[in-house]
């Protein structure tokens, strides 16, 4: 039995293609969902990071301006 060699058959070519396209569509849909989920998760970083940077810059400039004024007073 270890050498049992049976002919390998295949499904109808039309069915083979149908299965392939359905599976690829499922994978594509899942990949898009993952990407969309990823971009939604990344969304807060999209506006939070520039806001923090701008805030720090504003603080730095305000402090520098205040110190400059203090020198001339």
């Amino acid at each position: 039995m270890s050498e049992m060699r049976l002919r390998v058959h295949d499904a109808d070519p039309v069915r083979v293609e149908r299965i392939r396209s359905r599976c690829v569509a499922v994978l594509e849909r899942r990949r898009r969902e993952v990407e969309a989920h990823g971009s939604r998760a990344a969304a807060p970083r999209g506006w939070l990071e520039p806001a923090v940077a701008v805030g720090l810059c504003a603080l730095y400039l305000a402090e520098a301006f205040a110190r400059a004024l203090a020198v001339f007073r």
Binding site: M4, R7, V8, H9, R22, C23, V24, L27, E28, R31
Partner: protein, 191 residues
């Protein structure tokens, strides 16, 4: 399929890579279809179960463990779908031989030349397999046909490896008996 390649394909499939799916599909589809066709002995049912097996793979791809062995995974799903189909249709697996559609006559779409060229041994083997009970047939197809190890076959069938070895031994003995009692040969002897 080499283990390293298999592991890479699993990783890519988990990431939703359609090219990885294509590679797996090409490697396993004919083997899975042959397995299902020999279990069900009906092309239409085998194709339905084949489609469901592949859809299960892609819908659950994200949940696969990194070290998944694709062959045993796919054959487990296919075999479970076959068992569900039998239950759903209230089909006694041991009486599935009564189906009017015969195996292997309807399954292969081969030319007359190919039919003529089919080896006598292969024909006898197919006929003997078709007469076996599905439980015997599935274990022979997995271990002797697909060359799964007894432990892999045990995982597919949900049995202990020792039980698989015993069942395999019984199935081999029954197949040998069936091949000895092949109708044409018996007729030749009687005639």
């Amino acid at each position: 399929m080499e283990r390293e390649i298999e592991l890479r394909l699993v990783a890519r499939l988990k990431a939703g890579d359609a090219a990885a799916f294509e590679a797996i599909y090409e490697a396993f589809r004919p083997r899975l279809f042959s397995f299902l066709a020999r279990l069900t002995r009906r092309r239409d049912v085998a194709e339905d179960l084949l489609e469901e097996t592949w859809l299960r793979l892609v819908t659950r791809a994200g949940d696969l463990s990194d070290d998944t062995r694709l062959g045993p995974w796919l054959f487990t799903v296919a075999r479970n779908l076959f068992a569900s189909w039998c239950r759903h249709r209230a089909v006694d697996e041991d009486r599935i031989l009564d189906f009017a559609l015969s195996w292997p006559g309807l399954l292969p779409r081969e030319s007359p030349f190919e039919s003529a060229a089919r080896g006598e041994t292969e024909r006898r083997l197919e006929a003997a397999l078709a007469r076996l009970a599905p439980k015997d047939r599935e274990i022979l197809l997995l271990v002797a046909g697909e060359e799964l190890s007894p432990s892999e076959a045990a995982a597919v069938l949900g049995l202990a490896p020792e039980a698989v070895r015993k069942r395999l031994q019984r199935a081999r003995a029954r197949l040998a008996l069936e091949m000895d009692e092949e109708p044409d040969l018996v007729q030749e002897k009687v005639g």
